[in-house]
């Protein structure tokens, strides 16, 4: 293993002071990496002890005092507990601390008051914030991670995350989604497993530690097996029209599992893990109806992003190809923002602009900078990369123009906040 890879892997560990066997062997034999590991370990310890000065105004004690002095609650069983008088409690707390709580806390009080009075359905809607689409956010974040992944093993890990996200979202809505929508999700899952994950297998390093490789393959094979089982079980509970879709997902998972097991043939049996992987659970608190509605709005964009991510993960792609795929991702987001601005949907513009910013800042711009550094300006790759940079600058200008042409969108505070972030990107593209 190369020293640079070892050193990076040390910094990626949960705790650099605890080296796994694969890294330990190299570190023991390499003076440079040994020094690096010791440096990283010392840094971790210093960070652990980094102090913070004491809080100046003892607000904790004040809040605890107010909470403890509040009237005791009489629990009545089995009748549901009466809603606590949090508004009253907060009011008393704020009165006592009015000198420094100021306008901010007063605003919180108003929110609490409104919260206490509103019907529970409306409260639920506030808590859910339905216009944010966690599925879309996660796919963009996976694309960032794919742009940063350097090795087939790292890409396998990210693609496994993509498959997790898609399968969890599919299962969440499977009982009530139209079969056609469900099939769109299942197709994305199928592509991620068959064209993404499986494709990495032939490119795992030949000299990879056999035990490490066996463990890696077993982890993802077991995970896919869990996905297949979950889809098959759910297929028994969904409307007949949706059953073939879940079967298709289960088949893809089993195909992927078989490919991984085949690759592991002849390798030592991996040690038993602490707990078997399970199919990914949904993490979003959105109702299934909201998930379907948001997928109807964002399904095309999500498909573009997943496809670009799979293309980016292709081990045969060159660095310049990956720059192109990154530009495709950013372009897909720009193309979605224009119609949202035309429809005067300011919140959607803000959300998509923020996702665009995150992807370019953490994914596209660093990759562009690396490629410009690696390819001389006059080389064919260098010229292609610089051409893509030019397109990216144009995309950014178009995005700003699309947002700017409608006053209602332009003046929305969330949009203004999101647009302000874009200034950083102009510099990032120039560098």
């Amino acid at each position: 293993m190369k020293c640079e890879a070892v050193q990076n892997q040390i910094l990626m560990l949960p705790d650099p002071r605890e080296l796994p066997p694969a890294l330990r062997d190299h570190v023991q034999a390499c003076a440079e990496c040994q020094a690096w590991a010791q440096h990283a370990a010392r840094l971790e310890t210093v960070l652990e002890h980094l102090p913070a000065p004491p809080a100046p105004e003892q607000k904790k004690e004040s809040m605890l005092g107010d909470l403890m002095q509040a009237e005791p609650v009489i629990h009545t069983m089995p009748a549901p507990a009466k809603a606590p008088s949090y508004g009253l409690l907060a009011a008393r707390f704020l009165r006592r601390n009015a000198s420094y709580v100021g306008g901010l806390a007063a605003a919180v009080l108003v929110v609490i008051g409104i919260y206490a009075m509103w019907p529970s359905k409306q409260k639920d809607e506030i808590a859910k914030q339905p216009e944010k689409h966690p599925f879309l956010e996660k796919i963009v974040a996976h694309n960032v991670a794919l742009s940063q992944a350097k090795t087939p093993a790292e890409r396998l890990q990210v693609l496994n995350g993509v498959a997790d996200t898609i399968s969890a979202n599919t299962r969440d809505v499977a009982r009530i989604a139209p079969p056609a929508k469900l099939d769109e999700m299942a197709t994305l899952y199928q592509k991620t497993v068959e064209q993404g994950m499986v494709k990495q297998l032939d490119h795992l390093p030949v000299n990879m530690d056999p035990a490490e490789k066996a463990k890696l393959l077993d982890t993802y094979a077991t995970k896919l097996n869990a996905d297949a089982t979950a889809a098959e079980t759910l297929a028994l509970a969904v409307p007949p029209g949706s059953q073939p879709v879940l079967k298709k997902m289960a088949d893809s998972a089993r195909k992927g599992e078989n490919a991984l097991r085949e690759k592991a043939r002849g390798l030592p049996s991996p040690a038993a893990g602490s707990s078997p992987p399970t199919a990914a659970a949904a993490t979003s608190s959105l109702a299934a109806e909201d998930k379907i509605r948001l997928f109807e709005a964002n399904g095309g964009l999500i498909a573009s992003l997943v496809n670009a991510g799979i293309a980016m993960s292709n081990p045969e792609s060159s660095q310049a190809d990956r720059v192109k795929m990154c530009r495709d991702v950013s372009l897909a987001l720009v193309n979605a923002i224009g119609p949202a601005a035309d429809a005067q949907n300011a919140e959607r513009v803000a959300e998509l602009t923020s996702l665009f910013h995150n992807f370019v800042r953490d994914g596209f711009a660093p990759m562009l900078a690396d490629a410009k550094r690696d390819f001389p300006p006059k080389s064919p790759e260098g010229m292609r990369v610089r051409e893509l940079q030019g397109y990216a600058v144009e995309d950014l200008a178009r995005l700003k123009a699309d947002i700017g042409k409608n006053e209602k969108v332009r003046e929305n505070q969330h949009v203004r906040d999101a647009v302000k972030q874009l200034d950083d990107l102009t510099e990032a593209y120039k560098s």
């Binding site: 002071r17 990283a40 210093v46 960070l47 913070a52 100046p56 609650v73 901010l104 919260y115 409260k123």
Partner: protein, 201 residues
């Protein structure tokens, strides 16, 4: 000085689950237990995000007020610590946005080495001061992820849950933060005495 060792979490999840259930039923004393358990560690993290004691304390207070108002919506069985820290992080992000809008700059407590190092032993004072400044110079996304991992001992999955991102991105941010610190902190600044542990072999 807020630097007591953070007790391992989750050390008493049964008790915590009971406090949460009681708080959801309206028991304020139970909520006070939760405030007591998480305030100091939330404040410490927020201090390193804001570099301002007053702002960190205000944010901690606002976080628990919001948590109090929303505790009934907390899903039983999920991670309360990540939930509270996520509210804190959202407050911090909102404050930064508001700050940009008003062009108001927060005072920078990081420029008060005496406050930071008053209880530090002499030989570590310089190290802590330099590392504090280097951490303060990290982009806030990297800083928040690194400190959740190191201070709170959160797994990458919990860091992701707190910051509303993926596990891979959380891992990447911690990696980038460490990488930047390794670059700016030469080995001489981290003498072996600064560490109680070498890599375990």
């Amino acid at each position: 000085m807020t630097r007591e060792p953070v007790p391992d979490l989750p050390s008493n999840l049964d008790a915590e689950a009971e406090w949460i259930r009681a708080a959801q039923a309206g028991d304020r004393a139970a909520f006070a237990q939760l405030v007591d358990r998480y305030w100091d560690r939330l404040y410490r993290w927020l201090y390193h995000l804001t570099r301002d004691r007053h702002a960190a304390e205000d944010l901690a207070q606002e976080t628990f007020l919001r948590a109090l108002a929303a505790v009934k919506t907390f899903r039983a069985g999920s991670n309360f610590r990540a939930w509270v820290f996520r509210i804190g992080h959202n407050n911090f992000v909102n404050q930064k946005r508001a700050e940009r809008r008003t062009k108001h700059q927060l005072p920078d407590d990081a420029a008060e080495p005496d406050a930071i190092t008053a209880e530090s032993s002499a030989e570590h004072r310089e190290v802590l001061e330099v590392v504090s400044r280097a951490v303060a110079d990290l982009p806030s996304d990297f800083r928040s992820a690194l400190l959740l991992r190191v201070y709170e001992g959160m797994s990458f999955r919990e860091v992701a849950e707190t910051l509303g991102t993926t596990e891979e991105t959380a891992r990447w941010r911690v990696f980038k933060a460490r990488q930047k610190l390794m670059k700016v902190l030469p080995q001489e600044l981290l003498p072996p005495g600064a560490s109680s542990e070498e890599p375990k072999e």
